[in-house]
């Protein structure tokens, strides 16, 4: 840091587990929300079973756990605008983007226009994005 200028680092949160069976998905989401206060360059990845975290229509009433899936829609408010979904992970599970929540953010610099946060990427493209990170947190 120099003269109060902040060093912006690239932080990636790698989500690879199904929700509810383990605590990882919820823990990751909480860490992301807390860390969002630090104004870093944040991106989220949903790969492997992590893609199930974003499934539409989750209803946890009968399992007696909190349904935290609505919180993903708040990520845009927290300036988290880069959400990568690995295409191959969806395909292996017979899923498509239509099965997942549609996450958006409002672009302050473009008259608050709603823009897509979700980027569908191939395994190869994802490897490239991971390679550019300063820090990758694994959940």
């Amino acid at each position: 840091m120099e003269d109060g200028d902040q060093v912006i680092k690239k932080f990636m949160y790698m989500n690879r587990k199904s929700p509810y069976g383990t605590i990882y998905a919820l823990e990751s989401l909480e860490v992301v929300l807390i860390a969002a206060a630090f104004d870093q360059d944040v991106s989220l990845v949903f790969a492997d079973d992590g893609v199930y975290q974003l499934m539409k229509g989750q209803n946890t009433e009968e399992i007696g756990m909190k349904n935290f899936s609505p919180t993903y829609s708040a990520l845009g408010d927290y300036d988290i605008k880069k959400i990568y979904i690995e295409k191959e992970s969806l395909e292996e599970r017979g899923l498509s983007l239509d099965d997942l929540q549609d996450l958006k953010y409002e672009d302050e610099d473009d008259d608050w226009a709603e823009k897509d946060s979700i980027h569908l990427v191939s395994r190869e493209e994802l490897a490239e994005v991971i390679d550019q990170q300063d820090v990758v947190f694994s959940f």
């Binding site: 929300l33 969002a36 206060a37 909190k66 708040a74 608050w112």
Partner: protein, 110 residues
């Protein structure tokens, strides 16, 4: 310490946040604010109600930065700044207003 309102007792944690958010009633917010020595005005209610709606939709209490931006968008620029919100809630807008709204303490914020 539990809060007593109209002869009914409501469980809270050690910082005074309501244990079960489903038990919330407007009278509870009034009682909490009165106990803090700063009765709620219309302006306070705007924020408290906004927080409840935010929680209903997203299942979280927003961080103060997010709250400020969202209030500005919904209630106008003159209210969407930390000066205005801190004047209303001197103990920290998110923290104090969340308490009155019956929400959990926002994670990692003032």
């Amino acid at each position: 310490m539990p809060i007593e309102v109209d002869g009914q007792s409501y469980e809270t944690d050690e910082e005074g946040y309501l244990a079960d958010l489903n038990q919330w009633r407007p009278e509870l917010a009034t009682a909490m604010a009165d106990a803090d020595g700063a009765p709620l005005t219309e302006d306070h209610w705007e924020v408290v109600n906004f927080l409840r709606e935010y929680y209903e939709e997203y299942q979280i209490a927003p961080a103060v930065r997010v709250l400020t931006k969202a209030i500005g968008k919904k209630l106008g620029k003159e209210k969407g700044n930390s000066k205005y919100l801190y004047e209303l809630f001197p103990y920290g807008p998110a923290k104090q207003a969340c308490k009155y709204a019956g929400l959990p303490k926002p994670t990692g914020c003032v």
